[in-house]
Symmetry: C2
Subunit: 342 residues, 2 copies
Amino acid sequence: MRAAVLRHGAMVVDEVPDPVPGMGQVLVRTLACGICGSDLHFVKHGRRMSELAAHSGVPDRLDFERDIFMGHEFSAEVLECGPETLAPPPGTVVTSIPGMLTLEGPKDLAYTNEFAAGYSERMLLSAPLLLKVPNGLDPRHAALTEPMAVGLHAVNKSGIRAGEAALVYGCGPVGLAVVASLRTKGVEPIIATDFSATRRRLATTMGAHDVIDPRREPGIEAWRRIDGVRPLGIFEAVGVPGMLESALEDAPPGARILVVGVCMETDNVYPIFGILKELSVQFALGYDPMEFAASLQAIAEGELDVAPLITGSVDLDGLPDAFELLANPDSHGKILMEPSGR
Amino acid sequence: MRAAVLRHGAMVVDEVPDPVPGMGQVLVRTLACGICGSDLHFVKHGRRMSELAAHSGVPDRLDFERDIFMGHEFSAEVLECGPETLAPPPGTVVTSIPGMLTLEGPKDLAYTNEFAAGYSERMLLSAPLLLKVPNGLDPRHAALTEPMAVGLHAVNKSGIRAGEAALVYGCGPVGLAVVASLRTKGVEPIIATDFSATRRRLATTMGAHDVIDPRREPGIEAWRRIDGVRPLGIFEAVGVPGMLESALEDAPPGARILVVGVCMETDNVYPIFGILKELSVQFALGYDPMEFAASLQAIAEGELDVAPLITGSVDLDGLPDAFELLANPDSHGKILMEPSGR
């Protein structure tokens, strides 16, 4: 079968071995797979990320001399079950957290030498992790379960409550997922900032009450003008150096900062800002399986309309170009890879 | 009367106007006042601190061209009440949070151009803020109410619970107050690190289960050796550049970091460590009035034995030298200023 893999620092499409389902595994046909900002980061900074992850106690088994499979925001159709495996019948549309249960313990499906992932025509999934996509939900929308779960998790981790205010720095897919989840939770006002007009429009669609171009007005000043009194949660979804320091400097006394943007470089911060204002900084990554399931349910029941987030689609051969395109992501929300084309 | 004041960047003892109590105020005679690490910081970095505080929204009214009164860890004896003021009778031993209620709102007594503070023979306090020192408690011990409240507040803010583990970086007075409060809360093990053998001995006295010289073994490795499994709270009570980054780098996944050391310079951090391990960082400053009262009560009832923390005493004239001495604080816990000498 064909797959897009990371090989010597670049995405290439090539023939790879056909996956064969073992016990507890299900062979699926990929229907749609979102391109995640982390994947772009990974192509650039993968080795360093892997080093830092190993340094943080995450087991590091990635071999950059071999192909690395990627693609962790997918929906798929069941083709065939492994031996002695209970799973939905062929033809069922499913999604799953991007992980594989093995006899050696759970393994990552987001970045792996071992298993084909979402940027492949077919892949193996663990039967116990499968979630059926409720009847009728567009598999393209089901593919957004994963990024929306990231937003839900960040909002849960922040401890923000209905009636409090939120300031969201960055309206890429993560920032937009945060906005959507804040709206569902009854947070008001939600003030979202981004340099891109397209992304600000998307933020409004996803539930932001106010959108701000930080070149015209700093986000924190917008918050002071619009609200200025309610407890404030600041969500950092940009992930470039300087953002954490800005958040510490901007935050009003007692504010909570939730960092969900992945910054790979150092940030030079003044701890004294945190101290004088008794700030708290919570870092967030991923989601738990319940949040993933809740995210699918919210999309399937129409609580969360993810359709506007999808601003492009490519087939497998178009994936390397889409990675290039997203290096300047201003005009894009989420681009989906659909192996069969559209 | 005489007072030690900050004048042109140095502590000097001089005659200052006698304070006269107004309505709601009480004139007291200072019995003991602890020298706080923040005061040493302030002599060095006061202007910058004041700028950063103003930048953080704290009203800045300090005039560095005029004398600045300091001393915020005090006990005192009531001499005289202002007009129409309800207060304990003369001779009562009291303490108070270092603040003054005025018609313009509450004002700071820790660093002020306006009111004589604890490094003075006499001072004014706000009658509604007075706490009677329970009968028989040594006023020298009552003067430690304030620093112990800082430790209690940091522990409360951290959310740490009985049965969880704590790693305390730095065994100066703040770190020691944290250790004491952790012990009262039932946290175990409490692992405290400091370069100074004297301070490590004090940490053991105040309740640390294990003390570590970080030149011999990094604190985090000591935690792995001693415990390594319970939820961990890391308390940063050193306050020099590099400590926040160390804490982020050292912390195991899901750990909470409580920053109570006041770092005046920048710290170059890797947000990615926070993200990969979903850390939380809570900054803490000061205490609330209930925590202050609880701290006095704990000392008065013998739950908290602060006597070992007092490693020196000077009179008013000895205060400038004590500031010099504490610039190399290795062999000291808390030095008290007692205006009448000992």
